[in-house]
Each structure stands twice: as structure tokens, then as C-alpha cells.
């Protein structure tokens, strides 16, 4: 294999991993912006999305199963906010973050009881396990194109939503100045519920498109949440586009690390670079450190 195609192959591998981290990172960002909470149950939304879709796919066509899974998990996300965070607003942010960790465990265990410990996956959207698309000497699964396409569309859609729709703008208003938003007549608690639902929906969608490749099992969420969190921090919390860049960067760093170091140092090198960046720029690469970002809750 020639050096150029090998490099391209690493690049593709990094982008694939990175795009998954990016979706998780966006989820972190959405909830953080609207509520100030770091939701450590974010990875569970991916897992739930995959699990529900696999179950539904046995009865209905794949596109319906994926849509159903996204809708159902969005509902779960919204209900979690209603059931826990809306009632516990008086508590400090730290308490709420710890509650998300607890929820993560509860969701995992619930998934274990509803489904089981087995690993399952959705069928490939195009082709099957052995199909590969070749170009310039590199080869990838068609599913990778699905992942990249879906992530790109989701990011664009989210961007459009936050910037050009009334609801999206209201959500951003809550994030930048809750008091003023409230005075302007925006129902902040509802916006928070919506942020949870949207974040869960994004996670579920990502969980569905990656399922054929990474496979879905009840414990898959937590490691993805850690990587996604790292990506969000690297990009800078509070900025969904920075989360995408952060996610891709973490993925590429991992691939670059594998290319020149033993694969086992994969996580180490990614996190060492993350730490270095945080030392130099505590707000992340694209995050702002303006005083109004330090939020009172």
C-alpha cells in the first residue's frame, strides 16, 4: 500500500471516529447551553437509539425504525428533564451533574433488563459487512458515508434551527441571558425540556447510523460519552460548531497516534493533547472566556 493512500486511509478512519464524537459533543453542548448542566448520560442516548431501532427493525422497515427510535428517545430525553431537572432547579449545578451520572447508570441497567447483555446491530443501510467503497487507494464501508452524511445534515439542520427559527433563537436567548429571555416572554423551562429532547434525538440518530459498524450493546454509551465530552471541551463548551471541530480533531488525533505509536497509546495521546490545549486555552480552542459565559445558576 502506498504512503499517500495509507495516509488517506488514516485520515478517513479519523474522520469516521471523529464524526461520532462530534455528535456526542453537540449533544453535550445543546444541554449545557440551555441549562448549564454537563449531561453525562449523553452516551446513553446513542445506546438507546440503537437498541430501540434494532428492536423496531424486526417489525417495520429500517427508515421507519430509525425515525421511531429517534422520536422515542427524544421523548425519553424530554421526560428525564421534566421528571428530574425541572423539579431540582434549586439545587446547585454540581448536584445536577451528579444526577446525570446516576441517570446514566440507571438507563444502562434499565436497558440491560429490557433487552439483555447481548451485542446487536442494525443491518447496513447500503450493501453489507463486506462492501467497501474504494477511491485513491483507500477503502471505506458505505456505512461510513452514511455516518458522515447524517452527521453533516444534522449539524447543518441544527445550525439552521438555532439561527433562523423563532424557537431556536429563543433557545439561544435562554443560553446567553436567561433573565432577559424570561422578561422577553420565553418559557425557559420549556426550552430546557426541548434542549434535552433535541439532544437525545441527535444522540439516538447517531446511535442508529453507527450501529451497523460499531454495534450496539447496553454498555456502549459511557466510553462514547467520555470521548464526546473531551471533544466538547477541546472545541469549547457552548458552541455547537466548535464541538464538531473538536470531535473531528479528537478522531484525527487518535488515528495519527495509531499511525506512529502502538495502538494501545491511542487514548493516552489524544488526552495528553487535550490536556495541553486546556493548559494553554482553558476555554477550549474556539470557546469564549467572556465574563458573561461564567453563568450563575
Amino acid at each position: 500500500m502506498q504512503n499517500e493512500s495509507l495516509a488517506l486511509q488514516y485520515l478517513l478512519s479519523g474522520i469516521t471516529k471523529g464524526s461520532i464524537y462530534a455528535v456526542v459533543a453537540i449533544g453535550f453542548n445543546l444541554i449545557y447551553s440551555a441549562t448549564g448542566i454537563i449531561n453525562f448520560a449523553q452516551g446513553e442516548f446513542l445506546m438507546l437509539g440503537g437498541m430501540v431501532a434494532v428492536t423496531l427493525a424486526a417489525y417495520v422497515p429500517l427508515p421507519v425504525a430509525v425515525t421511531g427510535a429517534v422520536a422515542l428517545v427524544a421523548l425519553v430525553g424530554g421526560l428525564l428533564e421534566l421528571a428530574f431537572f425541572r423539579r431540582l432547579r434549586r439545587h446547585s449545578i454540581l448536584h445536577l451533574v451528579i444526577i446525570t451520572m446516576g441517570l446514566s447508570i440507571v438507563i444502562q441497567e434499565t436497558a440491560l433488563h429490557i433487552w439483555d447483555e447481548k451485542v446487536r446491530s442494525l443491518p447496513y443501510f447500503t450493501g453489507n459487512e463486506v462492501s467497501s467503497v474504494r477511491f485513491l487507494g483507500a477503502a471505506i464501508s458505505p456505512q461510513v458515508l452514511w455516518v458522515l452524511g447524517t452527521v453533516a445534515l444534522a449539524v447543518l439542520g441544527l445550525h439552521f434551527f438555532l439561527r433562523y427559527t423563532l424557537t431556536g433563537r429563543a433557545m439561544r436567548a435562554c443560553s446567553s441571558n436567561p433573565e432577559a429571555a424570561m422578561l422577553a416572554g420565553i418559557n425557559i423551562p420549556n426550552m430546557r425540556t426541548l434542549a434535552f429532547g433535541l439532544s437525545a434525538a441527535l444522540g439516538a440518530l447517531a446511535g442508529c447510523v453507527v450501529s451497523p459498524m460499531t454495534m450496539t450493546h447496553y454498555e456502549m454509551g459511557a466510553p462514547l460519552a467520555i470521548k464526546g465530552f473531551a471533544a466538547a471541551i477541546l472545541g469549547g463548551l457552548g458552541n455547537p460548531m466548535a464541538a464538531v471541530a473538536g470531535g473531528l480533531l479528537v478522531g484525527l488525533l487518535e488515528a495519527a497516534s495509531v499511525s506512529c505509536l502502538p495502538a494501545v497509546y491511542n487514548d493516552v495521546s489524544a488526552f495528553v493533547i487535550l490536556l495541553l490545549v486546556i493548559f494553554v486555552r482553558p476555554q477550549g480552542l474556539w470557546g469564549a472566556l467572556a465574563p458573561d459565559r461564567v453563568r450563575e445558576h
Partner: protein
């Protein structure tokens, strides 16, 4: 005074002799029914429950029923230790079956030895029985036997330069060590050796590195789910068509379904349980395997796996030893177990000795491959 004397004697005798024949014999079990090793523990627990019911329905052993006390360790060595203590001190079981993983077994090996508790592990690591501990046995084939089978098949295929990929967990590390240790003697050169995180969801980068190494003729992957399916898929997606060997951990048809078309042609050593239909009618294991497979699959509506088979074997050797010893006294049962020979189990035919607490030789494996989504015996 006389009354007290009689009571005292009664108390003494009852504490020293085995329980009266009406009482059941307690068998303890530590399986990781949930958690990361649940693919081992879940079929193990089901198998033992089913077998105990069958044995009791047939009248028990030497007129005694068996009573199973099973604990779910969730794959955690710490839980294995505390449950083992419970089984030893509170439940006072005759023997402990399991644990499911090597890490857990090693965590309680010394504990069982010190408390003279008979332990029949369902995990594969060499270190469980080497050095031999008086009270510790195991029933799965050894990792080294799996590695030897892989290397011999490679030689038949004319492969000498290989890449090893393994996961960071205990199973991957143990297999990697055996592969490294045995390679020189079998004339195999390891030209690439990579370890990846056991929770990895995508391994294209690791495999790209191997693809970029022109010397590699075949890949050996030593891991459990989901990585063993991901490796297979990623290799095909990268357009790598060299042979892929997997460990005996691939021995469950579910994994073939998960890897789908990418599983075709994967080679791995496993016990004959997976190819029981292909065995000649006069094969000594045929009847045991066919019966177990039929019972398990009709009852639990899922494919039988070699892991459940290990639990079958663990219970089998304890029961055979119990029959031979006559009464449920641990010391006698242990002595009987150590001298059991010719016991036909699912993994192979067990011949224990004071120096061999595994009781299986190389013939307990068969090289299998995947053809049209089914396991078949590999033929050159």
C-alpha cells in the same frame, strides 16, 4: 448429666459427618451473568440451572438432590471474592463452579485453596492450574492449546509472517502472551503486534497500520465481543483479504450473525459442540454433545455456545467425583475428582491427574471455519 452428654455427642457427630441423606448437596456457582463477560456467564448459569433440574428429576446423586446457589459477579473480581467468601463461610457449599473469567478465578484461587474449597473454574487461563493448586481445577481448554492449533493450521496453509491484534482485557492479554511464547517453536514470525482498547468501536486505524505492512500474511485477533466482530468487518471494509484467525472465544454462532458476511472464512479453534451435526455417529462425544445441544436450544430458544458447555463440564466433573466418592465430603470428592479419567464432556474427554487439573489435551480442539453463516470443520 447423662442427657447433656448425649446431646453433646449428638452435636459433635452431626458437625463432623456429612449431612443426612435427606438433605440436598449444595453446589455453589459464581458466574458473570451480567456485565461485560455476560456472554460467558449467562449461558453458563442457564446450563447449570437446567442440568441441576435434570439431575434432580432423575433422582439426584446417590439419593441426594442437588441444590444450586448461584451468585452473579457481573465480571468483577472484587464481587467474586466477596461471593466466594459467602459460599465458603455461610452457604458451606460442597464445591464452587466458575467463575466465568480468568481474572475473577485468579482473584479467588488462593482463597479457595486456603479454605480447602473445591473450585472448578470455567475460565481458560493457564495460570489457574499452573502451578497446580490442590483444590483448584478448570474445565475449558487452555489458551496455549488454542494458539498451537492456530499456528499448526497456518503452517499447513504456508503462512509464516503474521500480525496479532488483541484487546486490553485479561483474555486478550493472556492470548497475546501465549501466541508470543509459542511462535518461535512453531516457526511463526510476528511482524506486527497491536493492542487495542476492549471497548473500541472502530478499529480501521489499527488495521490500516497492518494493511500498510507488506510482510503480513494473516491476522490473528484475540478478543471477545464486540471487538471480534468489528475486526472482521473492518478488515473487509478496508479490502484486506488475508485470512483472519480468531481465538476460541469466537465459539458462538451469534458472533457470526453479528459479523454477517464478514465472518465468512474466519478460522478459529473450538470444541466440537459447534459442529456436532458433522461428527460421525460413533464419535465418543457425539451423544453428550447432541443431547446438551438439543436440551439447551429447545429450552432457551438460543444457540448453544461452548461457554455454556464449560459450565456443563464443571458440573459434570463435580457430579462424577461425587458419585465416585459416595458421600458429599469435600476431601473425598476432591480426591475422586483428581483421579477421574475418561469422563466425556462437551469440551473433550477429561483425564485428570495430580499434575494436570485441566484434564484435556490437544484433541479437545477442532479447527473450525465459517461457511454460509454456519460453523463447519476446517479441511485443508
Amino acid at each position: 448429666m447423662a442427657g447433656i452428654g448425649v446431646l453433646g455427642t449428638l452435636w459433635l457427630t452431626s458437625s463432623c459427618s456429612p449431612p443426612p441423606p435427606s438433605e440436598p448437596v449444595k453446589i455453589g456457582a459464581l458466574f458473570s451473568v451480567t456485565g461485560p463477560a455476560s456472554f460467558l456467564g449467562a449461558p453458563e448459569e442457564k446450563t447449570v440451572q437446567m442440568r441441576i433440574e435434570q439431575i434432580n428429576a432423575a433422582g439426584g446423586i446417590n439419593g441426594r438432590k442437588l441444590q444450586l446457589v448461584v451468585k452473579d459477579t457481573a465480571g468483577s473480581p472484587e464481587k467474586a471474592v466477596s461471593f466466594a467468601k459467602q459460599l465458603i463461610e455461610e452457604e458451606k457449599v460442597l464445591a464452587i463452579l466458575g467463575p466465568s473469567t480468568s481474572g475473577e478465578t485468579m482473584a479467588i484461587k488462593d482463597l479457595c485453596e486456603q479454605n480447602q474449597m473445591l473450585l472448578v473454574s470455567c475460565a481458560a487461563a493457564e495460570t489457574i492450574v499452573n502451578p497446580v493448586a490442590r483444590y483448584v481445577f478448570k474445565v475449558p481448554q487452555k489458551d496455549s492449546q488454542a494458539a498451537t492449533w492456530i499456528y499448526r493450521t497456518m503452517k499447513e496453509k504456508g503462512i509464516s509472517n503474521i500480525a496479532i491484534v488483541s484487546s486490553t482485557d485479561g483474555f486478550g492479554a493472556a492470548g497475546k502472551k501465549q501466541l508470543e511464547d509459542l511462535a518461535p517453536a512453531e516457526g511463526i514470525t510476528i511482524v506486527a503486534n497491536e493492542v487495542y482498547d476492549k471497548q473500541a468501536t472502530d478499529l480501521t486505524d489499527v488495521l490500516t497500520k497492518i494493511k500498510g505492512n507488506p510482510k503480513v500474511q494473516a491476522v490473528v485477533n484475540w478478543s471477545i465481543v464486540p471487538a471480534q466482530s468489528i475486526v472482521a468487518k473492518n478488515m473487509k471494509q478496508l479490502g484486506m483479504d488475508m485470512p483472519l484467525f480468531q481465538s476460541h472465544g469466537f465459539g458462538n454462532r451469534k458472533y457470526v450473525q453479528q459479523a454477517g458476511a464478514a465472518a465468512e472464512g474466519i478460522l478459529f479453534p473450538a470444541s466440537r459442540l459447534l459442529v456436532v451435526e458433522d461428527l460421525p455417529a460413533n464419535h465418543p462425544q457425539k451423544e453428550v454433545l447432541a443431547t446438551y445441544k438439543k436440551d439447551y436450544e429447545s429450552r432457551f430458544k438460543e444457540d448453544v455456545s461452548t461457554f455454556g458447555g464449560h459450565a456443563y463440564d464443571a458440573l459434570l466433573v463435580v457430579v462424577e467425583a461425587l458419585k465416585k466418592a459416595g458421600e458429599p465430603e469435600r476431601e473425598k470428592v476432591r480426591d475422586a475428582l483428581e483421579t477421574l479419567t475418561g469422563v466425556v464432556g462437551t469440551a473433550g474427554i477429561f483425564n485428570f491427574s495430580p499434575t494436570d487439573h485441566t484434564g484435556l489435551d490437544l484433541t479437545a480442539f477442532e479447527m473450525l471455519t465459517v461457511k454460509d453463516g454456519q460453523f463447519v470443520a476446517y479441511k485443508q
